[in-house]
């Protein structure tokens, strides 16, 4: 279906808005470009003034991230592969479960009124309010006591916990945008509420689910603070290792930048996979022709 054409606005106004938009794109993408370039520079080139645009590519940063080449066996080598796999598993599982719980919770809070609903919702939101720095230690102790320290399961639980509040609230917002009529018509026609929920309502909030999944994956993936305190050797995830980089021998710029660039790739892949759902528009094809 063609997007509705919106009539014309004065050209000057339009040009101005376009310029603003362009400025933001520059602001947004500039530093990205810069971090990619910087990760490829040698230490010397990093501090060159005026900044070098053309330079010899130095892969020291990436080498130390992957623990290869010149950095093999050094103290600052990270050893990335197992971390990456761990991170992907933990993040994906956490995201999936958080989105699932959030969708269910958001739907129920959107459609039904029950005693304590407001309190429940606020409680769910409040889980996000705990400053991570304050509660880290407790989680460490708690998990140690339950035998969950250092395990992937423990991390997944943390990932879910950190995100389900966000997921519930965002999904509730999207469900609120779907008219209750949709389920009412279905129920009157003889379908069960469950059927209406799964086959009629869910497709309409695809955009919300995708957005929520995207956020949850990002937050889970970057679960810096929690993971670093909770785990010691086995279930270590990548973001953890980055913070280790800044401690010991002063700031290892190239390593941090390289690690940052490497870390962003799984997230990019994830977003690329869900892009169609993120940008879907609402078509009313369910009740008739679209």
């Amino acid at each position: 279906m063609q997007d509705a054409k919106l009539g014309g606005t004065p050209n000057f106004y339009r040009a101005f808005l376009l310029a603003l938009f362009g400025t933001y794109i520059f602001f947004n993408l500039g530093p990205i470009f810069w971090i990619i370039i910087s990760s490829l520079k040698s230490r010397a080139d990093l501090f060159a003034m005026p900044p070098k645009w053309i330079f010899d590519i130095d892969s020291t940063g990436y080498e130390s991230v992957f623990g290869v080449g010149a950095a093999r066996g050094t103290a600052s080598a990270y050893g990335v592969t197992d971390s990456l796999i761990n991170s992907v598993i933990v993040s994906s599982s956490g995201t999936f479960l958080a989105v699932l719980l959030g969708t269910l919770g958001g739907y129920v809070c959107s459609r039904f009124d029950f005693r304590g609903k407001g309190d429940f919702l606020f409680f769910v939101l409040s889980t996000r309010m705990l400053p991570p720095v304050a509660v880290l230690v407790f989680y460490h102790l708690m998990f140690a006591r339950l035998g969950l320290a250092d395990t992937k399961t423990g991390l997944v639980i943390v990932a879910i916990f950190a995100n389900v509040g966000l997921a519930t609230w965002i999904m509730k917002g999207f469900f609120d945008g779907v008219p209750k009529q949709v389920e009412q018509i279905a129920v009157v026609s003889g379908y069960s509420r469950m059927y209406a929920f799964v086959y009629l309502v869910l497709p309409m909030v695809r955009g919300g689910i995708a957005a929520t999944a995207g956020f949850c994956f990002i937050f889970a993936w970057n679960e810096f603070a929690f993971a670093s305190i909770l785990t010691t050797t086995q279930a270590k995830t990548l973001p953890v290792k980055i913070s280790a980089a800044s401690g010991a021998t002063g700031i290892e710029w190239t390593q941090i930048m390289s690690a940052g660039v490497v870390l962003i790739i799984p997230v990019l892949i994830f977003f690329y996979l869900i892009r169609k759902h993120l940008l879907m528009g609402m078509t009313f094809g369910i009740l008739g022709r679209s």
């Binding site: 063609q2 509705a4 054409k5 009539g7 209750k180 008739g288």
Partner: protein, 362 residues
């Protein structure tokens, strides 16, 4: 009030022609219905007139002026959509006056028009409520009120009643027709329901496969369909269709042993060389006791009721034909069936076009 003309209008999506070379004139104040099966191009044509769809080629004229390049907001049209078009965050009253506010009408004027429209549609009690709380029938009434409040030159409706219960549909149909006559606004209405078209339209534009098949008053469309498609699409229950094969003394119906007497069939058909398909509506096929002047003999297979009417069915070769049953009779062989010759329509089997018809009612 405006006259709408479509000249050689085509709308293409890539290789697909949704609307293929449509020519039509809608007169000022006329109620025209685009009728046809799903996907025939009727909605696309309507949206082209509205300005929500760009015409690939051809002209759209309002009162003789070509308006292809005008956006929807610039054309003086109003539209009622099939689903959800009320602004859910605004009250009924605010919904109705939205077009007035958007175009900068003065407050006094807005209040006046709101009262006028609320009066016509009897919406006085509902004005403060919100769309979410209303049944679909009332919602479409509001949509209609919003469309009419601006006094548009052309009123466009895209299957507005399809989401409404049968019960209310009849009532709304009547109100809609009455309203249109009162206001005298040029109206184009899209539907796939032929009963709706037949009851509302001054003229029906029957479309199929991106093209116009027939444009006619409902009466004429019913009695003088110009093609097999028209004949079959209009009328419920649908027209019986049978091939005619010339035999001595008459024509055999399809593969059956039923023979149609020669005198029923017009000369032009009798003398034609091309294969003929005959159409006759069930209402013109009656079960009688005595052999009629124009009739055939059949084996009645089934007798059933639809609403108030009783129907019977009989076999014509592989196909089943239907007729109406005046009083209760049971199934059986050798029954007499009267056929009203004025209700017969003859089509060319290959092209589907009409060859002949008497086309009058009793």
């Amino acid at each position: 009030m405006a006259k709408v003309e479509l000249k050689n209008l085509s709308v293409e999506f890539g290789a697909f022609k949704a609307v293929n070379n449509v020519n039509l004139t809608v007169n000022d104040g006329e109620f025209v219905v685009y009728l046809g099966p799903s996907g025939c191009g009727k909605t696309t044509t309507l949206r082209a007139v509205a300005g929500l769809q760009t015409a690939t080629s051809g002209d759209i004229l309002f009162d003789g002026q070509r308006i292809n390049d005008q956006t929807a907001s610039e054309r003086n049209i109003a539209m009622v959509f099939q689903f959800v078009s009320l602004y859910p965050h605004l009250s009924i009253a605010e919904n109705i006056v939205f077009p007035l506010k958007a175009r900068g009408f003065k407050r006094a004027e807005i209040a006046r028009k709101l009262d006028w429209v609320a009066e016509i549609f009897k919406l006085g009690d509902e004005l403060k409520r919100f769309p979410g709380a209303l049944p679909p029938g009332t919602k479409q009434k509001v949509a209609l009120a919003r469309a009419v409040v601006r006094d548009p030159a052309v009123l466009l409706l895209d299957e507005p009643l399809s989401a409404i219960d049968e019960q209310f549909r009849e009532e709304m149909r009547w109100e809609l027709g009455h309203l249109q006559r009162e206001l005298g606004v040029t109206t184009i209405y899209v539907t796939h329901d032929q009963r709706e078209a037949m009851s509302l339209a001054d003229r029906i534009v029957l479309m199929n496969d991106s093209q116009i098949v027939q444009v006619d008053e409902p009466h004429n469309l019913f009695f003088n369909p110009n093609s097999i498609f028209s004949g079959q699409f209009i009328g419920s229950p649908s027209m019986n269709l049978m091939d005619l094969k010339p035999v001595s003394g008459g024509f055999r119906l399809g593969d059956s042993s039923i023979v149609l007497p020669e005198k029923i069939v017009p000369d032009v058909v009798r003398n034609s060389a091309i294969p003929v398909r005959m159409g006759v509506r069930p209402r013109d096929v009656k079960l009688v006791d005595e052999p009629p002047e124009f009739g055939i003999e059949v084996a009645v297979e089934d007798v059933f009721s639809v609403g108030r009417e009783r129907y019977f069915s009989f076999r014509v070769g592989d196909e089943i034909a239907q007729g109406i049953d005046v009083r209760s009779t049971s199934t059986g062989q050798g029954r007499n069936v009267a056929i009203r010759p004025e209700g017969l329509v003859f089509f060319d089997s290959q092209t589907g076009n009409r060859i002949a018809s008497k086309g009058t009612d009793v």
